[in-house]
């Protein structure tokens, strides 16, 4: 089951938010781990306990884009970029669940990707903010530029598999470089089925990192 990271002004609010994200209606169904506590709030990681399921009617998970809404999102991105001096075109590649897959192509794409995808991540963040307010509260996009995000995911996937193998062989934790939330989520997802390692995040935004740690075999046996 997915692991989510969220925050609230206090632990209770963070817990409520996490339950909402996981679609849990019972607070006994979630395992909450406090990642950071500060003056302005609490950051937690949470997942559903084994044997519990998210509410199937949970709105944001249940919401699916339709043809028109996905097109509306892509058109919006094109309209916005038409106001910039860049020569780029916007392509709607498809949509899955509540996400529209939008790719920016053309001569000036490198400006919008930036170093390590910094710009495209920020643009995606802003656009999702706008889309949630203007199009539909649960509609989102995944923004790619010239295939950068796809290549990046592929590369991450390969690196993570190699690192996980090393962690397992050496029995030592590996601390990954600082990454944005969606890349950390990708890594948690890649390794969640891996029987030999587990993952968690540490540090404060924007310096959070994923840590891959070895699972002790005895522990898994004890659960049986």
């Amino acid at each position: 089951m997915a692991r989510v990271e969220t925050s609230g002004s206090d632990l209770n609010e963070a817990k409520q938010n996490a339950m909402k994200m996981l679609g849990a209606s019972d607070e006994n169904a979630v395992v909450i781990e406090v990642i950071a506590e500060g003056e302005d709030g609490v950051l937690v990681q949470a997942e559903l306990k084994q044997g519990f399921h998210g509410d199937a009617d949970h709105e944001s998970h249940n919401y699916e884009l339709d043809d028109d809404t996905a097109k509306q999102i892509a058109d919006y991105v094109q309209d916005l970029l038409n106001q910039s001096p860049l020569q780029v075109q916007v392509v709607l590649k498809g949509w899955h669940a509540r996400y529209a897959d939008v790719e920016i192509v053309g001569r000036d794409v490198p400006y919008l990707v930036g170093k390590n995808g910094e710009v495209i991540d920020n643009l995606q963040y802003l656009l999702n903010m706008i889309i949630s307010r203007r199009v539909h509260p649960y509609a989102r996009l995944v923004l790619d530029g010239g295939g950068w995000r796809k290549r990046r995911e592929e590369k991450l996937r390969n690196q993570v598999m190699v690192i996980a193998l090393e962690v397992q062989q050496r029995g030592e934790e590996a601390v990954l470089p600082v990454m944005p939330a969606h890349e950390r989520r990708l890594i948690h997802n890649i390794l969640k089925e891996n029987p030999d390692v587990s993952t968690y995040s540490e540090g404060e935004e924007p310096n959070r990192r994923v840590v891959i740690s070895p699972k002790k075999r005895e522990d898994t046996n004890n659960e049986e």
Binding site: L80, P85, Y111, V119, L123, Y125, L126, M129, R133
Partner: protein, 77 residues
């Protein structure tokens, strides 16, 4: 460039009619002062300045095509 920033900012706020942006260019640097409705400040600044930082990163990148540096100031009073 101003129109691009204006389009983004207006899309982020609840009161687009209250958005005012002034532009001053000095050599290769453009200075933008953004004023929004007091209720909309959080919408352009965000938790810990997250939205403002994203706005700066994106507009800086777009402006670099014209070899222009950008300074964005969000008025808070």
């Amino acid at each position: 460039m101003k129109i691009f920033i204006e389009t983004l900012v207006k899309a982020l706020v609840e009161n687009p009619d209250s958005v005012q942006i002034s532009e001053e260019v000095d050599r290769d640097t453009a200075f933008y002062k953004i004023t929004v409705h007091p209720n909309d400040r959080g919408k352009v600044i965000g938790k810990g300045g997250r939205i403002a930082n994203a706005l700066r990163a994106v507009t800086r990148a777009v402006a670099s095509k014209n070899r222009l540096r950008i300074q964005i100031d969000i008025q808070t009073d």
